[in-house]
């Protein structure tokens, strides 16, 4: 049987200010799947993603990517992340951003330049190829983030709110590209606030609240289980329940 693309056991994170963002989270994402992670702000989605990508110091637990510890070089090479906030190198142009990223991920100059040109075309950034990142519009930055995440042909792509703040046309364009990527066998983990986006794209959805997975199934499975007409109803039932449970736990004296 193939290794899971992502296997998380008992992942915990308590920030220095005492906030518990993740409390022993378990999650398994099968290889080749399109997996959605839904939850309100502060639920722990970005913390979870950051931990997988070695951008955070977890306080406990284990993360494996295709069977390898996530901190290993091979595992790092297999992950591509597009973070929620545009975090582009202000000194580099669009083309340089992509070429340098390929270099950081072990690609040769020729490979990296070839892929950079491909990505520039795919994401319609040709006219801006020699423009530095701070001069790009919000939508162009978002496309460049996605192009950078995919440049080194990762097997696990993590997209943290990739369509937040983009117009409808670009959102559908990004959906088309992400779908095509998934059809080629790339495992995709998507966090989003847009429930219709999760329903349209994801094979399986996990709802996260208070640093825990409170429900997980296909969109139809979730609706059946929670006797809901829409995913929004499921979301409200599960996330509200999770919040109430967390609030109740906090009220119990130690």
């Amino acid at each position: 049987m193939a290794e899971a693309a992502l296997s998380i056991r008992g992942l915990a994170k308590r920030y220095d200010d005492g906030t518990l963002a993740l409390g022993g989270l378990d999650l398994e994402v099968p290889a080749g799947s399109f997996f959605g992670l839904l939850g309100p702000n502060g639920a722990g989605k970005t913390t979870l993603i950051s931990a997988v990508c070695n951008l955070l110091r977890p306080t406990g637990g284990e993360i494996r990517v295709f069977g390898l510890p996530n901190s290993s070089l091979a595992a790092r090479r297999m992950i591509g992340i597009a973070e929620q906030e545009p975090n582009l190198d202000r000194f580099l142009t669009v083309r340089e951003t992509l070429i340098y990223h390929g270099g950081y991920y072990g690609m040769t100059r020729a490979e990296s330049a070839r892929r950079a040109d491909e990505m520039i075309d795919v994401f319609d950034l040709r006219a801006k190829a020699d423009v530095r990142a701070p001069k790009l519009s919000g939508g162009q930055k978002r496309r460049l983030l996605l192009a950078r995440a995919l440049l080194h042909e990762p097997r696990l792509v993590i997209l943290d709110e990739p369509t937040a703040g983009v117009d409808l046309e670009l959102r559908h364009e990004l959906w088309r590209y992400i779908r095509r990527l998934h059809e080629q066998g790339t495992t995709i983990v998507l966090t989003t606030h847009y429930l219709e986006e999760a329903e349209a794209l994801c094979e399986e959805i996990a709802l996260i609240s208070g640093g825990r997975i409170v429900a997980r199934d296909t969109a139809d499975g979730l609706k059946r289980r929670y006797e809901a007409q829409t995913l929004e109803e499921v979301y409200l039932k599960t996330v509200a329940t999770g919040r109430l449970a967390a609030a109740r736990e906090e009220e119990v004296p130690a």
Binding site: A2, A5, Y15, D16, A31, G32, S50, C53, N54, L55, L56, R57, F66, L73, A74, R76, R77, M78, I79, I81, E83, E85, N87, L88, D89, R90, F91, L92, E96, Y100, H101, G103, Y104, Y105, G106, M107, T108, R148, R155, H182, E183, Q184, G185, T186, T187
Partner: protein, 267 residues
């Protein structure tokens, strides 16, 4: 190939050296892109010191340790320019990368922590060497400053670069604002370098200021470079090299600890 087959195929381990080289290249690229600020300005200001203090006022000052004043001040000015350059470069590049979060692209990449640390430092070394090389090339014909101990310089200049580079990295990681970076430069490095004998021999100070100067780490930096250029210094060249080595070792271990643990770099 079907999607599932692709997902299950074995994956080749990456070549981490390539990532390190690209990060080093990126840091040099940054220095060159900002060349008026990173390279030209420090060369011009150090040259002005040589011209104003050395050539204009130097004639009124008697020789120090057997050297005309304009020659005596050259090594200290080069030491000061290089120390400030490597410190400022590394502190600002790390701070900007943290502040804009594009450091995440490096922290997530398949590189070892020591390669990330060293890669971020390479731009500072490159910048300081360009400044030191240019100042040496310009000061030699202007003042006639010799290079008496080139092999000694080959030992102490890397120690200076590594030590002050690591200091820049540490400050860049801890800094909350650009003011913190400037504070260390303007309130610590610059005054201590001036007090370390750039413009005078500490022997001329007399007790207790001469002894007090020996507690200033920058005094050994200035002395080391002065010995490399003039074969003359206020303290033993080996003591200067040893102090530089100890400072560099402590700061490198500290900087590496921050990269290895992710403290202050990752939440």
């Amino acid at each position: 190939m079907t999607g599932r087959a692709y997902a299950e195929q074995p994956f080749e381990a990456p070549e981490p050296w390539r990532g390190f080289l690209w990060l080093s290249l990126r840091e040099c690229h940054r220095v060159l892109r900002l060349w008026t600020q990173t390279t030209l300005a420090p060369i011009v200001s150090s040259l002005l010191f040589i011209i104003v203090f050395g050539l204009s006022l130097g004639g009124r000052i008697s020789e120090i340790h057997g050297y005309p004043y304009e020659i005596f001040i050259v090594p200290g000015l080069i030491a000061m320019a290089m120390a400030q350059a490597v410190y400022s470069n590394n502190a600002s590049t790390i701070f900007q990368a943290r502040n804009d979060r594009y450091i995440d692209d490096v922290l997530a990449a398949p590189m070892y922590a020591w390669q990330m640390n060293l890669g971020f430092n390479v731009g500072g070394y490159f910048r300081a060497l360009m400044i030191g090389g240019a100042l040496t090339a310009l000061a030699a014909p202007l003042t006639g400053a010799p290079i008496e101990r080139p092999l000694y310089l080959l030992v102490v200049v890397p120690l200076l670069l590594v030590g002050f580079g690591a200091l820049g990295t540490i400050v860049g990681i801890y800094a909350h604002t650009f003011d913190h970076i400037q504070f260390v430069n303007n309130i610590v490095i610059l005054p201590l370098t001036f007090l370390g004998g750039v413009f005078y021999s500490v022997e001329n100070l007399g007790a207790p200021w001469e002894e007090a100067s020996h507690a200033n780490p920058l005094f050994y930096v200035v002395s080391a470079l002065r010995y490399g250029f003039l074969a003359d210094a206020d303290v033993s060249p080996w003591l200067s090299a040893a102090v530089l080595a100890v400072i560099a070792s402590v700061l490198v271990v500290w900087a590496q600890y921050l990269f290895s643990t992710g403290r202050r770099l990752k939440p």
